[in-house]
Amino acid sequence: MSIVSKADTGVRAPLAAVLPAILGIALLVLPLAALVARASWGTLFQDVTSPAALQALWLSLRTGFTATLVCVVLGVPLALVMARSSARTAQLLRALVAVPLVLPPMVGGVALLFLFGRTSPLGRLIDDLWGMTLPFSTAAVILAQAFVALPFLVLSVEGALRSSGAGYEQAAATLGATPWTVLTKVTLPLAAPGLVAGVILCFARAIGEFGATALFAGNAPGVTQTMPLAIYTAFNGAGTGRDSAVALSLLLLATAILVLVSVRAWRPGALK
């Protein structure tokens, strides 16, 4: 059986597409293979479990989970509004939601700094009310992560809501179900595969966040130094630092693969 034949349809991809396709896969896979090849397996366990690495990992997981929670709380209602609003409103909202996807994260970091910085009106208000400054705190890490990760959750949930359509909700309403019952017993269960996929992608994006975090939250070990920042720091350090960087990168890569496998298990078709 050829890799380009599709058994159920008998339609083959054109031969001219095969070489570029192989190069494309190579571009994606070879750097990761090089990373694995470069690892010093002898000291890998030690590097990964060093106090600095564990501190960064723990901070990444904590902030990643919290950012994902923030994204769910804000993103699911936003996706609901988008999926059930007029075509024009939905288009506008979708464009706004997609901004962090196309924006360099660094720019996002600068923007967050200007919005929440100590000299900004909002920054002053937060300072007056709670006596705290957001930038360069763990809260800033969470905000930066939520900023870049929210689109993944919203677009995934909105897609699921759109594909299930309003028909089931109307059917439920004609059976006498209140809007709350429709939401909890019909709408959300039907969107569950999209929600789970969105949550996983959102979490993966959050723990991989670098640019916005670096500018808005800084690089203080234990406070704002997440895994990607720890990798960057270790890579810029001399000698032994580079091994740690590779080890930490492998740890993030393993997390990413785990995430991908879970997404596959939760694709809409997987839900019987």
Binding site: G167, Y168, L190
Partner: protein, 246 residues
């Protein structure tokens, strides 16, 4: 429960407005026929509350469902709707779908589950209680959708071409079931159909809609025996000649 339905409604659409007046007496079934796109589903959706009316009034028993200003939401109308697509919830089993309706109409969990069991037994589908809709045949799905609509204890049942997507045998079974349930419950109903045979089998009165307007209305056989338009004549011609004699 038999309720009187009176509907005078205008629903704006691109092309033409749907503007009709119709009454259905308690316990009667009205057949609604017309060419594709004539506005039959619009009328049914307006009565169910899925579409808003621009003016007029829809009243069921003593309850105003809608007028130019007020719009009672679908879940407070007690109007059941069975469409061409059964719209069974894909994440619930056959019993779960029926129990959902019983729960939505205010029955307790245990009672709703019992209602679902009784329905499935009555339909001869008891062994399919746990099956998801994807595992059921088209005919089974439609029968469960009818059971679900009735388990919500509606005051009016709207049936919008539920036989159209079924094969001949399943359609005949479904037609017989609808007829039996309408007789058993004595429920007021509107049956949208393309088929003169459905109108004869299920309804006492027939209303014909063309381009959003009522073009003919009366007892089914009388309308078919004396067609006012080409469409009605074509529909009447599909009936076996002997049918008019009975």
């Amino acid at each position: 429960m038999s309720e009187f339905l009176t509907a005078r409604l205008t629903v704006p659409r691109t092309g033409f407005d749907v503007q009709v007046e119709l009454d259905v007496h308690p316990g009667q079934a009205l057949a609604l026929m017309g060419p594709s796109g004539a506005g039959k589903s619009t009328i049914v959706h307006a009565i169910a509350g899925i579409e808003r009316i621009a003016s007029g009034m829809i009243q069921l028993g003593g309850t105003v469902l809608a007028d130019g200003q007020r719009h009672l939401p679908p879940h407070r109308r007690s109007v059941g709707l069975l469409g061409q697509n059964p719209m069974l919830f894909p994440h619930l089993g056959a019993a779960g779908n029926i129990a959902f309706a019983a729960r939505a109409s205010g029955q307790g969990k245990a009672q709703a589950e019992q209602v679902a069991r009784q329905w499935l037994e009555r339909l001869g589908l008891g062994e399919l209680a746990g099956q998801r809709p994807a595992a059921l045949s088209g005919g089974q799905r439609q029968r469960i959708a009818l059971a679900r609509a009735l388990a919500a204890r509606p005051r009016l049942l709207l049936i919008d071409e539920p036989f159209a997507s079924l094969d001949v045998e399943a359609a005949a079974d479904m037609r017989q079931l609808v007829r039996a349930e309408l007789e058993r419950t004595g429920m007021t109903a509107i049956v949208v159909s393309h088929s003169a045979a459905d109108a004869v089998a299920l309804a006492g009165e027939l209303a014909v809609i063309e381009r959003g307007r009522m073009v003919q209305q009366g007892p089914v056989r009388q309308v078919l025996a004396d067609p006012a338009t080409r469409f009605v004549r074509a529909v009447a011609a599909t009936l076996p000649a002997g049918d008019f004699l009975s």
